[in-house]
Amino acid sequence: MKNISTIILLLLLITCGKSQEDYIRHKTKNILDNPVAGGSVVIGISTEPDALNPLTALSKTSRDVIGLIFQRLAVINEDLTTFTPQLAKAWTFTRDSLAIKFLLRSDVKWHDNQRFTADDVVFTWKLQTDPKIIWDGIGFKDNIDTVFTVNDSTVIFRFTKKSRTMLMDAVEGCIVPKHILDSIPPENIHKSDFCQNPIGTGAFKFVQWKSQQIIYLEKNQDYYIENRPYLDYIIFKILPDNYSLYQQLISEEIDFSSGLSERNFQQIIMKWNDHSSAVMPISIPGRKYEYIGWNMIDPQNYAKCLKKYGSSYQNIQHFLKPNPLFGSQKVRAALSMAINKKEIIQLTSGGLAEPMHGPVPMIMKTYNPLANKHWDYNPQKALKLLSEEGWIDSDNDGVLDKDSLIFNFELLTNNGNIVREQIATIVQEQLKKIKIKTSIKKVDSGLLGGRILPQKKFDAVILGWNVGLKNDLSPLFHSTSFFSPFHFTGYYSIKFDSLQEQLNQTMDQNIVQNNSDEISQMLSHALPYTWLYYKKNNIAINQRINNAHFDKRGSLINVEDWWISENNRIYKE
């Protein structure tokens, strides 16, 4: 990939013409200059990684860091379907299409100078599927029957059944060194020194992790691609406060960050347009969206049913009562029409987000904007819909009511997320206009996800999901996950279940697209969620860094190609 890799700077760009020009200049400069080695980049991150071991790491920050130290057999391309070789040179499907044969590179060395061999790949698979390890990607390996070596540089993955995602399943997960982890019992790996001092094959070597401060990575001198990486050091600086992040970007103490708050990103844009800072704002589709989830079934009744009939969906589905407020689709539609997504986006993200109308995320290949039913902002129509449902303000107290029931509910969101608090406050005000009373409650996420959501003890909640690359909506809406913390709305549809199942199993791209569209249509009509917006990934990067490439896969995908011209180096490395 590196050799092919080009000099494309994908910048889904922001505003006026001025910045366009700047962006073009940056690009040309990059083509004219020859990349030179040297220099360091400081990356600002807002949370500390949870571990630097690819088998146990869970947070996004960890994956970003790990992605520089460790490598996979192959990495996914921007189209999210094809792959580029990494540790594997090439691969072929066997004749029966039930196995993939990987030809590995033979010039790869671990950071401690041991040779990378096929044994490492087999060993990694064994650990990944070991229940004691608790690797969070274990689901990818479900269909893999066995993995074995043919010789030092050939590995075969044998599958139990054919599927659309065989290659993706095989290459998922970073390869870990056998010679180090072999001696550690699997149940102790999450505590082992390896989590703090990882050894990989990647372009950067781990040097040091100072808790709450920094993580140092240095150039892997023995990297198998010649002249790569260009940079001598990558330093992750942990800055939990958004203003520090912003401040240090402006003062050029850090060069890069993708964790800026929307408000501070606005400032970056303003300064860039004024030519008063060297920090370039880049806004590309991200991997997150925000939504309001409605509780569609009555919480008290649910608790009773659960107690009486146990947690099996077949047993309890006939006894569940709809939520007195949100059980009706018309009410949910009315609420969706009363919420002005554009206003929310404008205020919380300065317009840098896409209003979202259906369940399929924008970055997915299957995303089809026409499949979604749009509930455009229209408070009058919302009021009318509500009155059709019997919700009228009969006692003129400014709050809708129906049979002595008052339209008053609690809007939950998790503690510590300022943007969601802001969304909640705006939504509260917007719903007030259609005479609906809300109170906002911030709850600790452990409590929210650990108790309130799984027990369905709530009215409505503002949350966001990170989008995976697999596009599987089963955890959120499929009846088999009805008792999981993710499926808290209580949405149930036999049709959805079968569509999603079919979608997951088929290899036919047309069926995939068809079912996906149908699902979009169904869910955007049924509205278990009111999708608010699809977030942009707000990246700020100092313009002295050349050849950085960002897309929907992430912001640190080609760090080994980044380079800094000599006169632009700040630190005396």
Partner: protein
């Protein structure tokens, strides 16, 4: 008899007024209190109504102290926030005064094991840094105003308990208490009619000082994101919101803090003044 009380009261105010610092304190507290009370008459804006295209306006003619993220008038929110902040602080002070005086009197009057236990608890709690403790207990589950007040009062009664204990111990040795005991009066009567009226002065003074530390505590806790829920404003939540807008709207943090400082200064001066009035010893 009413006239007598009136006389005592006017005497008291004369003393309060005579002392320059307690006069200043009294005026400041009165000013903030009146603002909170007559908030709707002072400002034309509503505290919680958003005006999204007026987001983050700097202080100016239209908005005296600027607007916040949601385009709400900051001045209005500060005035209305005074109701919440003062309300919480006063109520928490009230609770901890009752708790502290109760424990202090029992410890001071009965002595022995009661005193020992009370003093152990007091010393232990006095040594506790409130914020980390609050973090451990409240950080886990989020908080409501109720738990906030409860926490604030549970961790603030010690100073009052110590004062009322010391005062009770000195009052206890006075002959009139002995006479009252010898008369076979009930404990309740002795506490309510003989002890409390005679130790109330220092208690009022330190309760006034406690209000100011309660205001600061409320601000600190709200600043960490606990406490009053949006959209209701308290001074602490104004600071909390101001923190994330520091780059774009310094005035939120600035004025949110200034009003706390003014009020706390007011209560501190008033409390010091009362202390001087009630404690003739420190008059020198």
């Amino acid at each position: 008899m009413n006239q007598d009380k009136l006389k005592i009261l006017s005497e008291f105010f004369k003393k309060l007024w005579f002392n320059k610092s307690s006069r200043t304190g009294f005026i400041l507290v009165l000013l903030v209190g009146l603002c909170a009370l007559f908030a709707p008459f002072i400002t034309d804006y509503q505290p919680n109504v958003q005006n999204l295209n007026q987001s983050l306006q700097p202080p100016g003619k239209e908005h005296l102290l600027g607007t916040d993220f949601f385009g709400r008038d900051l001045f209005t929110r500060i005035i209305y926030g005074a109701r919440i902040s003062l309300g919480i602080s006063l109520f928490a002070t009230f609770l901890s005064t009752i708790l502290g005086v109760g424990i202090g009197i029992i410890a001071g009057y009965f002595g022995k094991i009661y005193d020992k236990i009370a003093m152990r608890i007091i010393n232990l709690l006095l040594g506790f840094p409130k914020l980390p403790v609050f973090l451990i207990f409240a950080g886990l589950g989020g908080t409501s105003v109720k738990t906030l007040i409860l926490f604030m009062s549970l961790f603030s009664w010690m100073e009052l308990a110590r004062i009322s204990r010391a005062e009770t111990m000195s009052v206890k040795t006075r002959p009139y208490i002995k006479s009252a005991i010898a008369l076979g009066l009930r404990k309740r009567t002795i506490f309510l009619k003989y002890i409390i009226p005679n130790i109330i002065g220092p208690i009022i003074a330190s309760a006034t000082l406690l209000i100011s530390s309660m205001i600061l505590l409320e601000a600190a806790l709200s600043f960490l994101g606990f406490g009053v829920q949006t959209p209701i404003a308290s001074w602490g939540t104004i600071l909390y919101q101001g923190k994330s807008e520091l780059v774009n709207g310094w005035w939120i943090s600035f004025f949110g803090g200034i009003v706390i400082v003014i009020t706390v200064i007011g209560f501190n001066l008033l409390g010091d003044g009362l202390r001087i009035i009630f404690e003739p010893k420190s008059k020198s």
